[in-house]
Amino acid sequence: MAQTVLARPESDGKTVGHGSDMRGVTGASGTPMIVVRDLRKRYGETQAVDGISFEVAAGEVFGLLGHNGAGKTTTIRMLTGRTKPSSGSAAIAGLDVVSDRDRLKPLINLVFEDQNLYERFSGRDNLRIFAELYGASSGRVDELLTLVNLMDGAKKPVKTYSTGMKQRLLIARALVNKPRVLFLDEPTRGLDPTSARDLRELVANLSAGGTTVFLTTHYMEEADELCHRVAFLSRGTIVALDTPRELKLRFGERTAKVLLRDRTEATIRLDDPADAERLAGWVRADQILTMHSQEGTLEDVFINLAGRPL
């Protein structure tokens, strides 16, 4: 399969939008692009988000991980101004997500979890509609079609597209306004490995170009590879937030995988004195054929913190 999403998106720092007023926009190096303070959302008896606080720097890829119902989508809905928080505050580029919603709209965009495209329209028309809504030039449409390698199928109705093509079109749509902050809600769900890899490459390129990326995913390896920092969300609260390496070191188990001369395999927990003694015995008896040390995975960390796997 051909490489599909390889082009590096431009990063001229300009956001497209209807008379976008850039007053209050921050996010230059050192200043947080996203600031969330004690954010809460209650639906009736359900506390969907329960007092989360974090900051995301400009150009950072930030991952929000959690089970279904943990509050990830509600958090994205609040940060993108589609749901009002019950209490607390959130600001993006210095603009409050509630009171400055109209000024914020040109600065952000979102790749939805669902492939919510106009199926009866062509790919080009889908992009053209949103280019018009954001006040982007018509040339932007062709730029994006080229970026996601959909120029050949641009005139075909979206209902004839494969899942991978639709996902690429969704990404192109989310880039139509050259957002300062791009939210991605489970962007690789249902994608084949090649398309998923291409998407990860695009995210890395966007981040390198200065775009702040806020990502939710179920795939721990993906978060580990892409995110500068991740937050684990459980029952509406953040139970851990740090770089993947630091989380693995703090909460993961250091292990070693041992192959013995009698061809049996064993996993040794290096922090467990009994396992360490067992290992020492094998060394003394010269029974070890191979041994590989392993740091903990994010999956392990998540299980340790949330009590069950994703």
Partner: protein
């Protein structure tokens, strides 16, 4: 509200909706019904009896003219000459004619000479009222041909029904009335099925989430309402063109359709908020549409009491009253301002509920 965004959403839906089979059917069905009504109904006075009369004459006769004079306009007569007495008999027996008569050779001359020539008149077993009247008109007809005075000078006066006592159907004509009902049906179908289906599909497929990331809910709602208004304007125009129905008071007709369209679209938008998807809405919309469209069919009838009061309070009844007056150019129902007021009140209430629904969605 952002007008450029409303325009983009309006243009998108204008192009997209017509490709949806559900939308197409919702427009074509009432359009087809209106055209069908225009063919099967007639605007002529339905209370005047009719009769088809055939005759055979061996030579020139003025009897058909004398008969027509004797009948006057009491019966609408279609008078037709055939080739022979046998054909006259066959047509009456076959119920192709209501009355038949055979004029023998030299009939007019014999009558003028004071003779008593024979005249054969054929009637079916159970003649209709029109045929009976025609049969009775032969005597005055032949008397006049013979130069005889009728023995009695009957002074006939017609008790003309006062215009205001005539039913809507009599004043407007059944064809015109039924086409106007179809126009209201078409308006309601677009407002309360097409527009909600467009919005429900947008919510169901979550494209609405993508739209409100940049536009406001109000932009989306206004864009879709305008699509409904545009479809109604075009469809009603097509209906009028295909049925060749002429409208006497065009500005009033346009105003009535516009106000009705905007109000019913408001009700349609409320419906869209109740259903989870477009198919569910398509299935259950009839429950909402029937109470709205039904009164339009019976607005010409007088029930009296509570029923009339209820009809007066409904937007579709008032809309039908307005477009009836506009089409006829007469004040058949009157009270146009009250009608506009009732429809506008429904519209204001509908859009208040839509606003409440939007505020809940944003919360």
């Amino acid at each position: 509200m952002h007008f450029s965004m409303v325009r983009t959403i309006f243009t998108k839906d204008l192009r997209d909706a017509i490709r949806d089979a559900r939308v197409l059917v919702a427009i074509l069905v009432p359009l087809g019904i209106g055209i069908f009504y225009s063919f099967i109904f007639d605007d002529g006075d339905p209370t005047t009896p009719t009769a088809t009369v055939v005759y055979a004459a061996a030579d020139q006769t003025v009897l058909p003219d004398a008969l027509r004079n004797a009948i006057g306009d009491v019966v609408r007569v279609e008078l037709r000459q055939v080739g022979s007495a046998a054909e006259v008999e066959a047509e009456v027996r076959g119920e192709d004619a209501d009355v038949g008569f055979v004029v023998p050779a030299g009939f007019d001359a014999a009558l003028g000479a004071g003779e008593r020539p024979a005249l054969t008149v054929s009637l079916p077993d159970d003649p209709m009222i029109g045929a009976q009247y025609v049969a009775g008109a032969f005597e005055p007809a032949v008397r006049s041909m013979a130069g005889q005075e009728f023995p009695v000078d009957i002074q006939q006066s017609t008790a003309v029904q006062a215009v205001e006592d005539e039913s809507v159907f009599e004043r407007l004509g059944l064809r015109t009335y039924m086409i106007l009902v179809s126009i209201l049906f078409l308006t309601a179908m677009i407002a309360m099925l097409v527009v909600p289906v467009i919005l429900a599909e947008e919510a169901e497929k979550k494209t609405l989430d993508a739209l409100v990331l940049v536009a406001s809910y109000a932009d989306v709602i206004v864009g879709k309402a305008l699509v409904g208004v545009a479809y109604i304007a075009v469809s009603v125009g097509i209906m009028l063109a295909l049925t060749t129905l002429s409208i006497a008071e065009i500005p009033m007709f346009i105003a009535a359709i516009f106000v009705t369209a905007v109000t019913l679209i408001g009700l349609g938008l409320i419906m869209a908020g109740f259903f989870k998807n477009a198919n569910q809405l398509n299935t259950w919309s009839g429950v909402f549409l029937i109470p709205v469209i039904g009164p339009a069919f019976v607005v010409g009838a007088e029930f009296g009491g509570v029923t009339d009061a209820v009809l007066l309070a409904l937007p579709s009844s008032q809309a039908m009253r307005l477009i009836t007056d506009a089409a006829s150019g007469e004040s058949i129902f009157g009270g146009s301002w009250l009608s506009f007021l009732v429809i506008a009140a429904w519209g204001a209430a509908a859009y208040a509920v839509v606003s409440w629904q939007l505020s809940r969605r944003q919360a």
